[in-house]
């Protein structure tokens, strides 16, 4: 929050400076006033010096703003943060930007953002200096570049898969859902491995849309085994409806030194069901959606992380130092006094150990993707089957065509009603994404918008982020990242 506020202040200052420059530029046609030009240059140098003190090596607000101006207005705040943070929070910033873009209908931005996140998730960070720092006793875990926990990674793949479905690229949609499911296999607890049934179900859906019947059947069967609520869609179903409810899990720390990463359910929201309505007038079709995934369960059942052992070690080391320090100060002092020695030596050792113990930092990293939902509901139907009925005649209803090509049908209007048990809520939710680019169509909506979230992700440590920029290697990496963004 602090960084973005500082950036906003900087941008305001930049705007004022730009205004001053514009006035100077306006006067450019007139004979140049050397005094005014000198004053402008001096003001600029002063501003740059102030920014240097505030932002270290940068990037400075003028550069950030120039970059953001080329983006959609509603997304600019997120783009500013992405640009400023560099590789450190790139995955997280891309994920948050992708979801907001998707919700607002900027699908090109959303695709690029999720690709940016997934490319980093898939790459191995070997011999990475920042990752090494995260394991150092005196450095915080937050030093590492963010890659997210498995449930966050899985959700990035899930959203990318939905965007592929929207475009009718069923192969890559299936690949995304498959990769998302693979993230779920990270679970240390064997009983929770590959338990994200919705992802298996969506692989089946992508296969069905791609015309791979046997693969689809296998995936649907597997999904139903994991979660019996997920029924096999009709063989001719061509519209998939997904809606997301509530607010997703929150990361927190626990333990004596906040060395344990724990997950808590997001703030309780009233909605626990949804009814989707397709079309209007005689062709209206409405039905309740089926609960298909609980994101808190996914977050909280992964088991231990490898880094937890390292953080535990740091915590034990810190605890040991504190105990030794206390012993040296109290027991050592009284022993020295009894033996006729100087108690100051023992106290000095105690103080040194105490100072050292303070420099040991086992706190877990709580940067998190805050826009995720609490649960996901799903449903499918066949749309466009009514078209050949008029030609059938003689009161006989013709069998619907097995599959309709893109030109033979179009997506109807869509609305979502959110419910608490059987009661409809006065909750509009987001405008549904409704599209069909091939044999299948997709509807995706959310009960809670991410547009009201701040553009900076929670859990970031601005001090660490700033200190990190002073490392030349990191700076060069971030500059390469920004160059690619521009």
């Amino acid at each position: 929050m602090k960084t973005i506020h500082r950036l906003a202040t900087g941008i305001a200052a930049f705007s004022l400076l730009s205004l001053a420059s514009a006035v100077v530029a306006q006067d450019a046609a007139a004979p140049v006033d050397p005094a005014a030009a000198k004053a402008a240059a001096k003001a600029r140098a002063k501003q740059v010096a102030a920014w240097k003190a505030q932002y270290g090596p940068g990037p400075y607000p003028d550069e950030v703003e120039t970059f953001a101006q080329g983006r959609q207005e509603e997304l600019r705040g997120y783009y500013r943060v992405l640009y400023y943070d560099g590789e450190h929070n790139a995955v997280l910033n891309y994920e948050r930007l992708g979801l907001l873009s998707m919700e607002l209908g900027y699908y090109g931005d959303a695709e690029k953002a999720f690709d940016g996140a997934l490319d980093r998730i898939e790459a191995f960070y070997n011999k990475d200096k920042q990752a090494e720092k995260a394991t150092s006793a005196t450095r915080l875990e937050v030093n590492k570049d963010f890659k997210g926990e498995p449930y966050e990674r899985a959700m990035a793949y899930y959203y990318r898969g939905l965007l592929y479905l929207r475009k009718g690229d069923y192969d890559n949609a299936r690949a995304s859902f498959k990769a998302a499911e693979y993230q779920d296999t990270v679970s240390g607890e064997e009983s929770f491995q590959s338990d994200f049934a919705l992802l298996t179900y969506l692989q089946g859906w992508a296969s069905q849309c791609a015309g791979d019947g046997s693969q689809a059947a296998d995936a649907f069967e597997q999904a139903a085994k994991i979660d019996p609520r997920l029924k096999v869609p009709g063989p001719n179903d061509n519209v998939l409806v997904l809606t997301e409810l509530g607010i997703g899990p929150v990361k927190a720390t626990d333990g004596q030194y906040q060395e344990k990463l724990v997950f808590r359910p997001g703030a309780a929201m009233p909605e626990n069901g949804a009814i989707v309505t397709l079309g209007a007038g005689k062709t209206t079709r409405a039905w309740p959606l089926t609960p298909a995934a609980d994101i808190y369960t996914q977050a909280s059942t992964r088991g231990g992380r490898a880094i937890d052992g390292i953080l535990d070690g740091k915590a034990q080391f810190k605890s040991g130092l504190e105990t030794t320090s206390a012993l040296a100060t109290t027991v050592g002092s009284s022993f020295a006094q009894q033996m006729g020695g100087n108690a100051l030596y023992a106290q000095g050792i105690g103080a040194a150990l105490s100072m050292f113990s303070k420099s040991v930092r086992p706190t877990a990293d709580t940067r998190m993707w805050d826009g995720l939902p609490s649960s996901i509901m799903v449903g499918t139907t066949r749309w466009g089957a009514a078209a050949p009925a008029a030609a059938a005649g003689k009161g006989k209803k013709p069998a619907p065509k097995a599959s309709l090509s893109a030109g033979e049908w179009s997506m109807p209007s869509v609305s979502m009603t959110y419910r608490q048990d059987d009661n409809a809520l006065d909750l509009t939710g987001t405008k549904p994404m409704a599209a069909s680019a091939g044999k299948c169509g997709i509807v995706w909506a959310r009960s809670r918008s991410v547009a009201s979230l701040p553009s900076e992700a929670p859990g970031n440590n601005a001090k660490i982020a700033l200190a990190r920029k002073r490392d030349k290697d990191v700076w060069a990496k971030d500059e390469a990242f920004r160059a690619k963004l521009r």
Partner: protein, 213 residues
């Protein structure tokens, strides 16, 4: 206490001084991250367990050698017409991939190697062909240098295939492994028989840093 002869002492001192002098130079690593040109056939600086840039060239080389060795396709009196695009290449793997990059690489290398022994039919840009044909027939433009034909070229074969993968992971060591199989087939578009099959396998393993497991 360890005793050393004067010569040995001098040697140690010399080595020590050399290390001190060379220290900064040894510690000074290449800190630049400016854009560099990389060989597309060599492993890149960013890597995972999936298909990477260097695999494409190797895969295409192997497939082209295989195809050129098949007399039914490469030794016909009349060069066969082949559709080689990604429309029937299915990605069943767990990797998102732009399939065009595979077929484009393959087509480019095959066209170079075939030297007229095969003809490649483009259906991807058929609209452009139809538009030009219509202009010629309407007399808006002349007939060009190759004259008019009754129809556009029909194809004898089409490249079809699948990309599949098998992922595994050892949660104790964090080691991930993926076997990716690119299986391509040449489909006879009249009889429906397969006249050629080529398979390229990539088996890659690696582990991410411990802080990400």
């Amino acid at each position: 206490m360890l005793k050393l002869r004067p010569v040995a002492k001098a040697a140690f001192l010399g080595v020590g001084l050399a290390v001190i002098a060379a220290g900064p130079a040894l510690a000074k690593k290449d800190r630049s991250h400016q854009a560099v040109d990389l060989d597309p056939d060599q492993r890149g600086v960013v890597s995972g367990v999936g298909i990477e840039g260097q695999d494409l060239g190797r895969m295409a080389d192997q497939m082209v050698r295989d195809l050129m060795a098949n007399p039914e396709i490469s030794n016909r009196a009349t060069p066969p017409r082949i559709i080689l695009d990604s429309s029937d290449l299915r990605n069943q793997s767990s990797q998102r991939i732009d399939k065009d990059i595979i077929t484009d690489e393959l087509r480019g290398k095959l066209m170079g190697a075939a030297r007229g022994k095969m003809r490649f039919v483009s259906r991807e840009f058929i609209a452009a062909v139809e538009q030009e044909r219509a202009l010629k027939r309407d007399g808006v433009v002349d007939s060009g240098t190759t004259g008019l034909t009754r129809a556009t070229a029909g194809a004898d074969y089409k490249l079809v295939g699948k990309i599949t993968s098998l992922d595994s992971r050892n949660n104790d060591t964090g080691m991930q492994e993926r076997l990716t199989v690119i299986s391509l087939e040449m489909l006879d578009l009249e009889y429906g028989t397969l006249v050629w099959n080529g398979t390229y396998k990539i088996r890659r393993a690696g582990a991410d840093d411990v802080v990400y497991r």
